[in-house]
């Protein structure tokens, strides 16, 4: 800033004669809401008596989550044979669900880290909830690789810990890279989320009326005082964590795609997988952010802080990444044809027209065709329609992982060993229940933690500018 003032004497004379047009910037906060309004709005969600809808939804979510509990209990007590996995398809719903949930998480990090580095101010309103979504989605994802080992009590062998056999993890395997990528991702996302929340927890602490509330939020807020000497370190740390999370989030889905790409199965062994997986992850993650935020916005009347501009931006990101995913589907076909490899060609023809064609076309219609509706402003302004399209995107992205995993394995090199994979009821219960598990965590977050980052929303308000008059 200081530098800009120093060089003002050297600026071209023409600039004094012409007046550059002011770029109209969309308002991030409507109705000129003040700082106190933002505090009241966000703290009010935590401070109000538990609403009835919350209790009902929480009960339903717990019930659905119990399906995962029962599924896992049955799996552990009986064995992985209760899942639909059998030769030739040794990877079924477990990896599909894992990749699906990890992908969902990526939008949270994109919003909190990449959009922070790109100075996209609109991110502030949705940042906190999206980060919470990331963490809970990664928790859902983690269930599957942990339990697919069968003897879950040996799950810790995945980590580089000394054990009685004196053996170590094998670092040449992309599955082991994945252990490091996903656990780092979970840890760093949680640190970033919590650190960003500390000033807001301080606000709730300062407003607390009852003893237990004061104690609870005091412990969480760590005695934050909001001094600028603290903010200075805080902002630097925030920027650095954003800078660290950006290569991290890109690496996580890249490494997830290595699980497939490093093998030599036709349809998996392609170099397009890392960027294609990352685009797909952001695509599905933004759809999930909208799926969650649109109802919350309506329930808590957050229309002034999450306005049409925010929704437009998210829809456009879904449109862009959905188109990238569609382009990647086309590229895969082209490369398969161009490779001259008979197995590779067959893998793709088989995807589109073979025994899993139904899954392939669900994927294409949900991921490539439906988001194209977001070209139209009328669609983006119809929030019920946006919500429904986002559900389609989530379904489509689950099917993408199903198509990639199952079609390649079911029909690989040797026709004599071809097979058809179907999930069992245990597979279905376990996956269905994760939506309940996710909802339980998300509802607890909505109820007890600041849903919107108050300090960050205040920071982008026009009256926060110290040079405004």
């Amino acid at each position: 800033m200081a530098h800009a003032h120093d060089s003002s004497s050297e600026r071209p004379a023409i600039l004094d004669k012409v007046r550059p047009a002011e770029l109209p910037r969309p308002k991030l906060i409507l109705n000129d809401r003040g700082f106190h309004w933002i505090t009241d709005k966000v703290c009010g969600i935590v401070e109000e008596p538990t609403p009835l809808w919350w209790k009902v939804l929480f009960g339903v979510a717990l019930f659905i989550a119990s399906f995962t509990g029962l599924g896992l209990l049955y799996l552990v007590s009986t064995g992985t044979g209760t899942w639909g996995l059998r030769s030739p398809v040794g990877w079924g719903w477990a990896i599909v669900n894992f990749v699906f949930w990890v992908g969902i998480g990526h939008a949270g990090t994109l919003i909190s880290a990449i959009l922070c580095l790109l100075r996209q101010k609109w991110r502030t309103s949705i940042n906190r909830a999206a980060e919470a979504m990331t963490i809970f989605a990664v928790m859902c994802a983690g269930i599957f690789p942990l339990f697919h080992v069968g003897r879950v009590w040996f799950g810790w062998w995945l980590f580089p810990l000394p054990n009685q056999n004196g053996i170590w993890p094998q670092f040449r395997s992309p599955l082991e890279w994945d252990v490091f990528a996903v656990s780092t991702y979970f840890t760093v996302s949680t640190l970033f989320w919590y650190m960003g929340m500390v000033p807001d927890l301080g606000t709730i602490r300062d407003r607390a009326k009852t003893w237990w509330r004061k104690a609870f939020y005091s412990v969480l807020a760590l005695g934050w005082r909001g001094g600028n000497r603290q903010w200075s370190n805080f902002e630097m740390a925030y920027l650095l964590l954003a800078g660290l999370s950006t290569p991290l989030v890109l690496s996580v889905h890249t490494i997830v795609s290595f699980d497939f790409a490093v093998s030599n199965v036709p349809g998996w062994h392609t170099t397009i997988f890392p960027p294609y997986f990352v685009a797909g992850a952001i695509f599905s993650g933004f759809a999930m952010v909208l799926t969650l935020m649109l109802p919350l916005r309506a329930i808590y009347r957050l229309h002034d802080v999450i306005n049409q501009y925010h929704i437009d931006n998210m829809c456009k990101i879904i449109l862009a990444t959905g188109t990238m995913v569609g382009y990647a589907y086309a590229t895969e076909f082209f490369i398969a044809a161009y490779s001259g490899n008979a197995y590779e060609k067959f893998a793709f023809i088989n995807r589109a027209f073979g025994q899993y064609a139904w899954a392939y076309w669900i994927m294409v219609s949900c991921n490539v065709i439906t988001p194209q509706l977001f070209w139209f402003k009328k669609v983006r302004e119809n929030h019920s329609l946006v919500w429904i399209i986002c559900l389609f995107v989530n379904v489509g992205m689950w099917f993408e992982r199903f198509v990639i995993t199952v079609t390649s394995l079911a029909n690989d090199y040797l026709p004599s060993s071809w097979g058809y994979y179907s999930p069992t009821i245990v597979d279905i219960f376990t996956f269905f229940g994760t939506f309940g598990f996710f909802s339980v965590l998300f509802l607890l977050f909505v109820r007890f933690l600041p849903l919107l980052p108050m300090a960050e929303v205040k920071m982008v308000a026009p009256q926060a500018d110290p040079h405004a008059h």
Partner: protein
């Protein structure tokens, strides 16, 4: 310093607008104060320069964490797959910088994030639950919509009455003496 000052933490005053506290901070800085702070509900853009604060030291701890993480990743993969239990898998070398790179990469990011996260809290001296400022009745509003300048008693320029007058001249409201 007289005896009364020893029981005093400092003098505080509030401001209603970011612009007011910003200009007040510039004046406190120009008056040569060193032990003082500006408490705000959100970070005000340019306040570090207005207060004359040096650049934050968090990046040094991030770098330290990152370098530690990278070395940890190298040593971990080398020790486990090449030294303690060498095993031939897929015709790949026992150890090279290439195949375990994802592990080294993730360890670098993980430790750098630890350095940043804990570094920030260490530099900010947190957790710190008992602080004289929390006893101030209007301090609770600072995390909402009020801005506060606090001049601390351990600054060599501090004198209760003069500091109060100084804050008054800056346009501060609700001037209060904070007792330790």
């Amino acid at each position: 310093m007289n005896e009364r000052n020893e029981r005093i933490y400092g003098v505080a005053c509030t401001f209603r607008k970011p612009a007011d506290v910003f200009h007040a901070a510039e004046k406190v800085r120009d008056a040569g104060w060193t032990r003082w702070d500006v408490h705000t509900p959100f970070p005000i853009h340019g306040m570090d320069q207005a207060m004359g604060l040096p650049r934050s030291k968090v990046p040094r701890l991030t770098l330290l964490g990152g370098v530690t993480g990278f070395i940890t990743g190298c040593l971990l993969t080398w020790y486990m797959n090449s030294f303690d239990y060498p095993l031939i898998v897929g015709g790949k070398p026992y150890w090279s910088a290439i195949y375990p790179f994802p592990v080294m990469y993730e360890c670098t990011i993980l430790f750098a994030a630890f350095g940043t996260f804990f570094g920030q809290f260490i530099l900010n001296r947190l957790p710190h639950h008992h602080h004289p400022l929390f006893e101030l009745p209007n301090f609770a509003r600072v995390s909402d919509d009020t801005f506060m300048v606090v001049l601390e008693a351990n600054d060599p320029k501090f004198h209760v009455d003069e500091s109060r007058n100084f804050l008054q001249s800056l346009g501060g409201q609700e001037i209060t003496v904070i007792r330790d």
